[in-house]
């Protein structure tokens, strides 16, 4: 009996390998959907149907199916997992919370949907990512903006219209002046605001609070008193997303009905678009960044040397692409930074995009002209690009910067030219002194005949000249 599912898995693997060539997602297209029973999957036919048209290979399994496994021999069996069975206390034997965390660490994406009857399993899973679901039995209630049709008001179906502005996850059409309305029926959660990896996508509006659906009071079934402070407003998270440092994406939604056909088909609901955008982000179909290549070389020669010298001028280039709409496009941003680090960054420079030579090129080249610092040592050239909603790009290169050889220093310093000239002037002065000393024609008579003029000295020297040979 166990052969059949494993055979099925092998076929699915083989088929997935063949299909990987046309995968719409950047990381693979094997999706595991866990539902309470296979019949309950019928309420998600529209959602799952859109996933299939987007090219995913969906395996719908019941939560109690013990043969479902996430890993086989250390490799992931699926690329994405969607949990649509919030009441299940435990999943199959291999689907522990620990295994789900391992799945995410290995790069698998996760979409977790909860509801008012969520189990401790989901609570623990959410707590790992900073998402604290409210008490079991409580709901997100809004007495002002809720679903109202045909005279029946269900205050627990919140018409949420407050979207958090992360353009990488939700396009800006969702915010702004005409925000869409997402019909949401489920539990609220607290999101850890200090965690930079956790981003709320849909939060409660000013009139939304978390309370007990039966009485409309607080979650302990007591009427709300002015002293109570239930979770409400912007702190009340309805849908939050989390991106790990290893570029795996996890989304938490407190409502399974968000994905259901009934709420999607309601008039005026933008559930379809919202679910499409969020699922595109979680399943790595958009806002995925990739570095395709990087190079660095000297500015003067254009070649990459074995080692650099201090004060060298060099050029660093990196190519970035972003994945959206089934293809890689050039990633355009103005905040890509380059760092040269030796324990501390010595150089930090914002790279500029070079003009693209080929308009169809799927990559954008960012280039920076860097003057290496005056320190020698082992440096790391790093581009560390982490932005909310986009994948992380961390590119490192270790280079050696050598000190100058004794004959590579400048020969004459411009600041020292006076000293050089003075040395040569001293030499010339000494030669002048020598000539003056050796060929000195001293006037023989001193001050007596000074006024007489030169004639007397000339005659005197003539006389002395004639008289000189005598002693010889």
């Amino acid at each position: 009996m166990r052969l059949l599912p494993s055979l099925g898995i092998c076929l699915a693997l083989g088929g997935a390998w063949l299909k990987a060539v046309e995968a719409k997602s950047a990381t693979g297209d094997r999706v595991l959907v866990l539902v309470p029973t296979t019949e309950s999957a019928k309420q998600y036919t529209y959602f799952l149907g859109t996933l299939e048209t987007r090219g995913f290979d969906i395996s719908v399994r019941a939560a109690s199916n013990s043969s479902v496994a996430l890993h086989l021999d250390g490799e992931r069996l699926y690329d994405h997992a969607i949990l649509l069975s919030p009441a299940a206390k435990k999943f199959g034997s291999d689907l522990t919370a620990h295994n789900f965390i391992r799945f995410v660490d290995d790069g698998g994406n996760l979409l977790v949907a909860a509801s008012s009857e969520l189990s401790d399993f989901h609570r623990k899973l959410g707590a790992q990512f900073g998402v604290e679901f409210e008490k079991r039995g409580s709901r997100a209630i809004d007495h002002v903006s809720h679903l109202s049709e045909n005279g029946s008001d269900d205050h627990s179906v919140v018409a949420a219209h407050r979207f958090f502005g992360v353009p990488a996850v939700l396009p800006s059409t969702f915010g702004g002046n005409n925000p869409g309305t997402v019909l949401y029926k489920g539990i609220a959660h607290k999101y850890e605001a200090k965690n930079p990896l956790l981003v709320p996508v849909l939060v409660g509006s000013t009139t939304t609070y978390s309370g007990n659906a039966a009485t409309g009071g607080d979650s302990d079934n007591k009427a709300l008193s002015p002293m109570d402070t239930p979770l409400s407003g912007k702190a009340l998270g309805l849908v939050s997303v989390f991106q790990t440092r290893s570029n795996a994406r996890v989304a938490f939604s407190g409502s399974t009905e968000l994905f259901s056909d009934s709420l999607m088909k309601k008039h005026g609901s933008s559930n379809t678009q919202f679910v499409t955008e969020v699922s595109k982000w979680v399943l790595q179909e958009k806002s995925v960044l990739r570095e395709t290549g990087h190079r660095h070389h000297l500015l003067s020669t254009g070649e990459k040397p074995e080692y650099y010298r201090i004060g060298n001028e060099m050029v660093y280039e990196i190519d970035l692409s972003v994945y959206r709409d089934d293809a890689w496009h050039p990633y355009v941003a103005n905040d890509v930074q380059f760092e040269a680090i030796m324990l501390d960054p010595y150089v930090r420079l914002t790279l500029n995009r070079t003009l693209p030579t080929d308009s169809k090129s799927p990559l954008a080249t960012y280039r920076g002209d860097i003057k290496l610092p005056d320190r020698y040592g082992t440096f790391t050239f790093r581009v560390n690009y982490k932005r909310t909603g986009y994948s992380n790009v961390d590119v490192k290169d270790t280079v050696a910067i050598w000190p100058l050889r004794h004959d590579e220093y400048p020969r004459f310093l411009t600041a020292a030219y006076p000293y050089y000239t003075s040395s040569f002037v001293m030499i010339i002065g000494f030669l002048a002194l020598s000539t003056a000393w050796l060929w000195n024609a001293e006037p023989k008579a001193k001050t007596n005949v000074k006024d007489e003029g030169k004639t007397k000295t000339k005659t005197k020297t003539k006389q002395s000249a004639t008289s000189k040979p005598k002693p010889n």
Partner: protein
């Protein structure tokens, strides 16, 4: 007439050297007169050279004071060469001064 006045001048210049005028301009002018009159020309050549060395040294020192000691070795080389030439010229002057013939045979 000129000779007599020149002789008189020659006779009077030693006396002028011992002129007890205490004013500074008087001392300076008598020093200058005595110097130009009594110093052999060879020594005057050395004196000119020494003034030239001092000037070059002062120029370098002022430049270093303005710009800073960045190429310190270059400053030391230039200034030191000027000072050394001055010292050697002073030694030569001492040795060849006819008044010191007793000490330097």
């Amino acid at each position: 007439m000129a000779r007599e006045s020149a002789a008189a001048a020659a006779e009077t210049t030693p006396a002028a050297a011992f002129n007890t005028s205490a004013s500074v301009p008087g001392i300076v002018s008598s020093l200058a007169r005595e110097y130009t009159a009594n110093t052999p020309q060879r020594l005057k050549v050395i004196d000119t050279y020494m003034v030239f060395c001092v000037a070059v040294g002062i120029v370098q020192f002022v430049y270093c004071g303005l710009v800073g000691t960045f190429p310190y070795n270059a400053f030391l080389a230039g200034f030191g060469s000027a000072v050394a030439c001055f010292v050697f010229a002073a030694n030569l002057r001492m040795k060849t001064n006819p008044k010191n013939r007793a000490q330097f045979p």
